[in-house]
């Protein structure tokens, strides 16, 4: 409690203590959303910079971790809204050699990756955390500051869009 009060008053040592305690958690959420370690480090710094600037708005009786996580997710979402994933995708999909089934499945992966990056950011983030990172709905809901039902709907909508787009491409999983 004393630490949080000192932080709100602008004590840099208190901020350093909080930074060291929460940097791993903040980075973890960001990297799972933006999917690039170097970018995630930059955005972790940006998150804590925003936290430091907004310190007077923080209630020292509230949990710091939840507040930091909310800011981190907003920073990551802002980043995704302003940047495309295209540059990162080709390296992430390993080349397949061998049977025709394997080659076909590689083509499906490519198609789904292409469709996935065209999803609206809100749906993409919910789907990333739920389907790829396998975070529980409740945790995603808390992190995004939305009801659990909203997250379930976003994931469902993401899957429905992906299914339609894949069908249109002639892929029928």
């Amino acid at each position: 409690m004393e630490l949080l009060k000192r932080f709100v008053q602008g004590d840099v040592e208190a901020f350093e203590t909080l930074f060291r305690r929460f940097q791993g958690e903040v980075y973890g959420w960001i990297v799972r959303i933006v999917r690039d370690p170097a970018t995630a480090e930059d955005l972790t710094l940006e998150t804590f910079w925003r936290i430091y600037r907004a310190r007077t708005q923080f209630d020292p009786n509230a949990p710091f971790g939840a507040w930091a996580r909310r800011i981190a997710i907003n920073v990551a979402l802002d980043h995704l809204r302003h940047r495309r994933w295209e540059q990162e995708l080709p390296d992430q999909i390993p080349a397949e050699t061998g049977s025709s089934d394997a080659v076909l499945r590689q083509e499906w992966r490519r198609q789904i990756a292409d469709a996935f990056r065209r999803l609206p950011v809100k749906l993409r983030v919910a789907a990333t955390l739920s389907l790829i990172e396998e975070e529980p709905y409740q945790e995603i809901a808390e992190a995004l500051g939305k009801p659990e039902a909203t997250i379930r709907v976003r994931v469902f909508r993401a899957i429905r869009i992906l299914r339609k787009q894949l069908s249109r491409m002639g892929v029928k999983p």
């Binding site: 973890g28 999909i93 389907l131």
Partner: protein, 72 residues
């Protein structure tokens, strides 16, 4: 939507986008500290101008030191 479809789409997604290693590999505080220092707001020009003017007044009219002392 069939559950099978959802499982298959999830499976393809996980193959296309492997799970991220969410562990931070280095301490970011040194970088944060540099960022804080770099973004410290500079002393505005009018503060420097006020200090210079105060110094000039004191140099020209030493008796004004009492007036300054009263206000501080």
């Amino acid at each position: 939507m069939k559950e099978h479809d959802q499982d298959e789409i999830q499976s393809l997604l996980k193959e296309a986008f492997p799970r991220m290693d969410a562990k931070l590999r280095r301490d970011l505080w040194p970088a944060m500290s540099r960022k804080l220092e770099a973004k410290e707001p500079p002393v505005p020009w009018y503060d420097w101008a006020l200090i210079a003017a105060s110094g000039a007044i004191l140099a020209l009219f030493p008796s004004f030191v009492l007036l300054f002392a009263y206000h501080f």
